[in-house]
């Protein structure tokens, strides 16, 4: 049962990711990203990470993807032009990707008896999770606010017109 579910959703995840790359219209790509995110959430659930699964659905499949779709629609992005890729990307890029994939896969397949990778002893409930987040990991949690602040500042600096920049409509 577990294996069937895994194959099903892992396959769905891969298919979604491939479709994301192959689709020409950004909105189709965005929609396939939702498939990827949701099937990843199911995989997390099967690994016993309930909180992560829920957060994945709410944050990624929900909030972020809605934002993505909105932006794509607001920008009215059309179909993208596509080139066949340069000589370098065919001759070096794809073989390199294949080699890296093969190396990573062989190492992971060879590694035996991986134990649990968990924060502390069994972290299952939301309460225990927040105890870790707000205690052991309080510093990275707080410092993330600086990261978000920088992102906002950057958005303002790059998108807003400066004080002295001449407006094109002459006002």
């Amino acid at each position: 049962m577990h294996l069937i579910l895994f194959i099903l959703f892992a396959g769905l995840c891969l298919a979604g990711a491939l479709n994301l790359l192959l689709q020409k219209h950004p909105i189709n790509s965005a929609l396939s990203l939702i498939v990827v995110m949701t099937s990843l959430a199911v995989l997390y659930l099967m690994l016993g990470a309930e909180f992560l699964a829920a957060a994945q659905v709410i944050v990624y499949a929900g909030a972020i993807m809605v934002l993505f779709t909105f932006v794509v629609m607001l920008l009215n992005a059309g179909k993208e032009d596509r080139t066949l890729g340069s000589f370098a990307s065919w001759s070096v890029g794809f073989p390199a990707v294949a080699v890296i994939l093969a190396v990573v896969a062989s190492i992971i397949l060879k590694t035996q008896g991986l134990g649990d990778a968990a924060l502390g002893d069994k972290v299952t409930s939301t309460e225990q999770l927040s105890a870790v987040l707000f205690k052991e990991l309080v510093l990275p949690f707080e410092v993330t606010s600086v990261l978000v602040l920088i992102a906002i500042l950057g958005a303002v600096a790059l998108a807003r017109r400066g004080d002295g920049e001449v407006r094109k409509d002459g006002k």
Partner: protein
């Protein structure tokens, strides 16, 4: 949130004192910027940012001296205060201070988000500083992102030019990809050891379990970090980004984030994977040789000054990586010293280039620099001084940097690496001298006059003086800095792995 509940001591707060000072400065700059009327002069915000950075520098110094913090970790083992972290805090705050002073006088009068510019630099410094004191990979990752994202944004500050936008997008896409590699490496390390604390990873690596995953983890992390320090073959972004980004920004981003990334490299290879030294030494050997050779050969063919300096910075990353071939932990000292020397001369030379070429790169080519020495003797002289230091002529920081790095590599038995390095240094002299000759030639009568005719401002003069002084001190009396670097290196290693010899032991002071 209640501090008691968290079991945090006041000492925990003091361990991140410089970061707190910088964050408060950044928030103040941001808020005052928003409160000022739209067309008000925002130059004073730069002074505020500079004063805040100077305080951060002092507070970092005060951590061990005034506050008498015991050299241990805080915040549940996520950050540490040690001579190593303080060495880099002082260095990074110093670079940021110089970069702010340069920006004060060289940013255009209007049309730019000056307030955001200063705030972004200060917030970026928070990330860079934290990166050097973090001993837990989650904090490392967030700090790395803070430092990177602020640099991506600053690189695109000339948004009205195609080059500026190209630089920002290229840097952002490739940089995010590299950070992805690093994060994947962190995940692998966590999977193999069940911890993200660097010292605990080292203990598990030592036991020899899950070696395959750990090797993969080391490789992936190295890809991410070597991208950030622009070492070959992960260097392709460097020339385009340096050319497109405004020169005052390049002064910052070719030095401070790189210093932080080298600190991270030292922590990862010597801190987390010390028992894999037979594995990463040859890897870094290859990267060092590639960086020197690719950087210098490409720099020879450049006509654009900023592109030439970009390739030269790739080559310098190579000279620095040569230090990692040293026996045991001797490489750390030489690497720390080289970072300080490299940073002081590079931040200085880009400050001079800003003054000569102008913010918008009106005079970008080597031949445009002709006659600078006659037109503005001070600038020309300072430029030649920094070029001499980059070549590595004695009595400048660049000389001792290379000397320590190569002698450490010699100590580690990497004779070929040193030979290739010396050949490369000779090769590099060719293109540096080309610029020196251009600067010292008599100007043509009808040549366009450099914007540097305008008087050099107080702030930028102070910045240049700081950079020149640092380069001179590192070249004439390297003893003090070397002592601090050695102390930092000593404390970084687990105590069982200490080596007695350090590269400075045979150096006259």
């Amino acid at each position: 949130m209640n501090i008691d509940l968290l079991h945090l001591m006041p000492t925990d707060i003091f361990r991140i004192l410089p970061e707190i000072v910088l964050t408060i400065t950044g928030v103040l700059v941001m808020l005052i910027d928003a409160a000022l009327p739209p067309r008000a002069d925002r130059r004073n915000l730069g002074w505020l940012a500079a004063i805040g950075t100077a305080f951060a520098l002092l507070s970092s110094q005060a951590q061990l001296v005034l506050l008498q913090l015991p050299e241990r970790t805080g915040f549940y083992g996520t950050v540490e205060t040690s001579s190593f972290s303080i060495f880099f805090h002082v260095l990074i705050c110093g670079i940021v201070l110089v970069a702010l002073l340069v920006a004060l006088d060289t940013l255009p009068e209007n049309g730019h988000h000056k307030g955001e510019y200063f705030a972004l630099i200060v917030f970026g410094a928070v990330g860079m500083c934290l990166l050097t004191s973090a001993v837990e990979l989650l904090v490392v990752f967030i700090a790395l992102e803070i430092s990177s994202i602020s640099t991506y944004i600053l690189a695109g500050y000339r948004k009205d030019t195609g080059r500026g936008v190209e630089a920002a997008i290229k840097y952002f896409l490739l940089g995010s990809f590299a950070t992805g590699f690093f994060l994947y490496g962190v995940a692998m390390a966590f999977g193999a050891t069940g911890t993200t604390v660097i010292s605990e990873i080292a203990a598990r690596v030592h036991t020899g379990e899950n070696q395959g995953l750990l090797v993969l983890s080391l490789g992936l992390m190295l890809v991410g970090i070597l991208f950030k320090v622009s070492a070959a073959p992960f260097h392709v972004w460097t020339p385009d980004v340096y050319e497109g980004a405004p020169s005052p920004v390049v002064a910052l981003m070719s030095t401070a984030p790189k210093a932080a990334a080298f600190a991270l490299l030292i922590r990862v290879v010597y801190g987390a994977f010390p028992s894999m030294q037979p594995l990463w030494t040859p890897l870094l050997w290859i990267v060092a040789v590639l960086s020197m050779t690719v950087g210098n050969l490409a720099a020879l063919r450049q006509q654009n000054v900023k592109r030439m300096l970009a390739y030269s910075s790739i080559a310098h990353a190579g000279y620095l990586l040569a230090a990692f071939a040293g026996v045991g932990n001797t490489g750390i000292t030489a690497a720390c010293f080289y970072i300080a020397a490299y940073a002081s001369m590079n931040v200085g030379i880009f400050a001079v280039v800003t003054l000569i070429s102008g913010y918008n790169d009106e005079l970008p080519l080597i031949k445009d620099f002709r006659g600078v020495l006659y037109r503005t003797p001070v600038l020309g002289g300072v430029l030649i001084f920094f070029l001499i230091s980059l070549i590595g002529i004695p009595f400048t920081g660049g000389f001792f940097g290379k000397f320590f790095s190569f002698s450490t590599a010699m100590g580690g038995g990497a004779i070929w690496l040193v030979l290739i390095g010396l050949l490369n240094s000779g090769l590099a002299a060719a293109y540096y001298l080309r610029l020196v000759v251009s600067v010292a030639q008599k100007p043509e009568v009808d040549a366009p006059l450099a914007p540097a005719r305008q008087p050099i401002g107080v702030a930028v003069a102070a910045a240049l003086m700081l950079a020149v002084a640092a380069t001179l001190v590192l070249g004439i009396a390297p003893g003090e800095v070397l002592k601090n670097a050695t102390q930092g290196a000593y404390e970084l290693m687990p105590h069982s792995m200490h080596q007695v010899n350090s590269p400075g032991s045979s150096v006259p002071q």
